[in-house]
């Protein structure tokens, strides 16, 4: 009989279902085909006027319509689509009755401009528009649906209802590491023996004018608007920022024991999770790279493996000058000479940065890499940065033997999270 516990005596955590949506398309098949063909999902924004903006492209998901549009509604819809796909693949529970808790990574929810403008119109032209006037027209039930919609917990609330997850659903944000954190929370719950299965979902539908402006004002976004497909240039010398993107990823996690008992197909192992916060700066990594190094080491030690056992790194690779430099520093410190030999590619070169969803989207792509034994490329890699001598799997996918993948996520607020995914229990 195969052991159901890892070398630390904890239940082994396996993946039995996956779902993904990105700017490349909906579902694993479509995404994998385009990802390994080196296609870009970045396009010129048509959802709203881009006059006056420095960045006019994004990885929007326009093929899943939400009417009327709000980023929160789109996030919820994308979350539904990927959860549906993941649960169907896992074949777990019955429809609307998932036998475990929900961990949801979601962008912070807030009232958006269309609703604010609706309030402005409700006030009319008879009085000055300010927050006192807005308060006067807000009550009485006319806008009650906006209370329900713009509670921070609303997306998790609705997903928990739709899929019948158990207990109190958790909405979490660790900025651009959120997707990985949602998975980590699911892994921990199974290891504690609290649950046999968890539904981990990460979603982001944030491409709206103010969100774009906010990142733009922090000088974080690429302004390579033309052609948009060439905008994200991770690890290139001429990289100039990330590109906002929408998407979602979902994993059904189960204990190895529960999955095998019900005869489920095991898609991969969630072998280890690491995290470590950075106290250096709100948007920048500590120049010595120690928090990233510590995070990567924590993930390896949580998985009970050494860096030599990792065959592929699914990089955070946003394409900002700062991130890619720091990621190289972190990886090269931990992996030593192997840092220049091990394949390190960035899915974001094609799908853009799906922010709160990125960690889960990239975990799905890491598992597909393990399944297909094929590494997706880093596209737009024309001018290598000599300071980052990674093997970035430039521009073309590559067949390779891959048994263990590390997937990294780093975010504003000093958030660092890394996952180790394997084909077989380690």
């Amino acid at each position: 009989m195969t052991a159901t516990r890892d070398k630390f005596g904890r239940p082994i955590v396996v993946v039995t279902g996956m779902g993904v949506v990105t700017s490349l398309g909906s579902g694993k098949a479509d995404n994998w085909k385009k990802l390994t063909a080196g296609e870009s999902g970045i396009r010129t924004i048509t959802r709203f006027p881009t006059d006056g903006l420095k960045t006019t492209m994004a990885g929007t998901v326009d093929f899943i319509p939400v009417e009327p549009f709000s980023s929160t509604d789109l996030s919820e819809r994308l979350g539904e689509v990927v959860a549906e796909e993941a649960i169907a693949q896992a074949g777990i529970g019955t429809r609307g009755d998932f036998p475990g808790p929900l961990f949801l990574a979601v962008a912070p929810v807030e009232v958006e401009w269309p609703q604010r403008q609706e309030l402005g119109r409700a006030i009319g032209t008879s009085s000055e528009v300010d927050y006192d006037a807005m308060l006067r027209v807000s009550g009485g039930g006319r806008f009650a649906q906006y209370h329900r919609r713009f509670l921070f917990g609303s997306v998790a609330d609705h997903l928990a209802e739709k899929f019948g997850t158990k207990g109190s659903p958790i909405s979490l944000s660790t900025a651009c590491a959120s997707g990985a954190s949602a998975i980590q929370l699911g892994v921990e719950a199974i290891r504690r023996g609290e649950a046999d299965a968890t539904l981990c979902v990460a979603t982001d539908g944030s491409v709206n004018p103010e969100a774009l402006v906010r990142f733009s004002l922090l000088s974080a976004l690429s302004t390579h608007n033309d052609p948009p497909q060439a905008a994200v240039r991770p690890f290139s010398k001429n990289r100039d920022g990330f590109v906002m993107a929408e998407g979602a990823g979902a994993l059904v996690l189960e204990s190895y024991e529960a999955a095998t008992a019900r005869g489920a197909q095991i898609l991969g192992i969630l072998a280890g999770c690491g995290e470590l916060a950075d106290s250096f700066h709100r948007t920048r990594s500590s120049p010595d790279g120690k928090p990233i190094i510590g995070c990567v080491r924590n993930a390896l030690s949580d998985a009970g493996i050494v860096s030599d056992q990792i065959d592929y790194i699914n990089a955070h690779g946003t394409g900002t000058p700062e991130n890619d430099k720091m990621e190289y520093l972190g990886i090269s410190t931990v992996f030593g000479e192997r840092a220049t030999q091990i394949p390190v590619s960035s899915n974001k070169s094609m799908v853009g940065h799906t922010l709160s969803a990125a960690g889960a989207v990239e975990a799905v792509f890491s598992l597909l890499t393990l399944e297909h034994q094929r590494i997706p490329p880093t596209i737009n890699y024309d001018i290598p940065d000599p300071a980052i001598p990674f093997d970035v799997v430039p521009n073309k996918a590559r067949d390779a033997r891959v048994t263990a993948v590390m997937s990294n996520s780093f975010g504003f607020g000093g958030q660092n999270a890394s996952l180790v995914l394997t084909r077989e229990p380690v």
Binding site: G52, R214, R282
Partner: protein, 402 residues
């Protein structure tokens, strides 16, 4: 639904060893204890009239956030939280202890999204005057938004600021989702320590209740208390909550970790249970609380209840129905004194419970409706209840350490 419980197979005992409070009553434990015993309530009926709020008592942020540059990078909710977190670390005796802080876990229950009211108002006014050219909104936002405002809006940047100012870096997780976020922050942190996944954690939250943009969100649902202040249990027809400003943080750690460093506990955090009923039928909230009640632990004669009941309906009436079936327990509603601090209300309840147990007394009732009665015996157990105004039900058991 099945409740989620923190009681896994492993069972390390977890102690509350640090408490940090900065609220409408003041800062620090003595100030809070005195104010509670004097039945003092700090409420503002005028500043945001007709809405009632509980304003933050004046605090000197410099004492916990020494760099003005750090203070400038935060909006009020983050300053309040970072301040209260500092008080909690100080109370646990680990402020500045780099070795412990570097491996200390953190789960913050946060809202966020504090807006620049003037920028929003100017844009809407211009639009009302016919400025609706394509790109008008973009142009105004590009020109008028402060670049660093975004960082004050991001939910996870309270935790980020606590890491920067106080050096808590073992891990940083932010839970969102109103009241339930506070329950789950405690539930997950406790579960991790009990199972040996963590040794020590900082948990808590903060809110700036003096915000018109926040009032708008709750006004959509007609949840704001208006006119004259009324205690939670006496609101009756006039349901709703008065937003409160405040931060509440706790340091919790395994008994072994606390003993090894010679830390003095306030109380034990024995259990946290939570659920989220759909609330489609009347009575579902009361039924859920009734189901959680036996799961929270075995309760003796010297047990009290501190609830974060909001005053919102039907949640508060249903909670009252539940409480009426357990008449042997003295009840206190933190919402009367502190207002509704949303994500922070449950950590605040845990803090008040731990403080009461340490001081050997339950603070006096503050309730003309008669729901709250005197408790003459020292409480050895306190159940903290968190019933969300819209969603989420949770309970914790805080106990004296014999």
């Amino acid at each position: 639904m099945t409740e989620t419980t923190s009681s896994g197979p492993a069972t390390a005992e977890v102690w509350i060893t640090g408490i940090g409070l900065a609220t409408s009553l003041g800062e620090g434990l003595d100030a809070h204890w005195d104010a509670l015993n004097q039945r003092r309530i700090n409420v503002d009926e005028k500043g945001f009239a007709p809405y009632v709020v509980h304003p933050l008592a004046p605090v000197n942020f410099d004492t916990q956030i020494p760099k003005k540059g750090d203070q400038r990078q935060m909006e009020a909710w983050q300053r309040i939280g970072t301040y209260a977190a500092g008080l909690a670390l100080e109370s646990a005796g680990i402020k500045g202890d780099k070795e412990i802080l570097a491996r200390m876990d953190m789960i913050v229950a946060a809202g966020g999204g504090e807006r620049d009211l003037a920028v929003d108002s100017n844009i809407l006014n211009s639009e009302a005057k016919g400025n609706s050219a394509p790109g008008f909104l973009n142009e105004r936002l590009m020109n008028d938004l402060r670049p660093t405002l975004f960082l004050a809006q991001l939910s996870n940047l309270l935790a980020g600021n606590i890491a920067i100012v106080h050096g808590v870096t073992g891990s940083s997780r932010t839970f969102m989702g109103e009241e339930a976020a506070g329950v789950d922050a405690a539930r997950i942190a406790l579960a991790r320590i009990a199972a040996g996944q963590s040794d020590i954690a900082l948990i808590g939250g903060s809110q700036n209740g003096e915000r018109k943009d926040l009032l708008v969100l709750y006004e959509f649902g007609d949840f704001n208390l208006t006119g004259k202040f009324v205690p939670v249990w006496a609101r009756g027809e006039k349901s709703g909550f008065a937003l409160g400003s405040g931060g509440a943080f706790l340091v919790i750690e395994s008994r072994a970790h606390a003993e090894a460093r010679g830390a003095k506990p306030y109380a034990r955090l024995t259990n946290v249970v939570a659920d989220m009923t759909r609330r489609k039928q009347p009575g579902e909230i009361a039924a859920t609380l009734e189901r959680l009640w036996p799961k929270v632990g075995k309760l003796g004669n010297d047990c009290a209840i501190i609830t974060g009941a909001t005053g919102a309906e039907p949640a508060t009436s249903e909670e009252r129905t539940f409480l009426s079936k357990h008449p042997d327990f003295a009840v206190r509603a933190s919402g009367t004194t502190f207002g509704h601090t949303m994500e922070t209300q449950f950590p605040l309840g845990l803090a008040l419970a731990a403080l009461s147990i340490e001081r050997g007394a339950l603070f006096p009732p503050n309730d003309p409706a008669g729901v709250e009665v005197e408790m003459s015996r020292p409480p050895t157990q306190i159940v903290v209840i968190g019933t969300g105004h819209w969603r989420g039900e949770g309970m914790a058991l805080v106990e004296a350490i014999k």
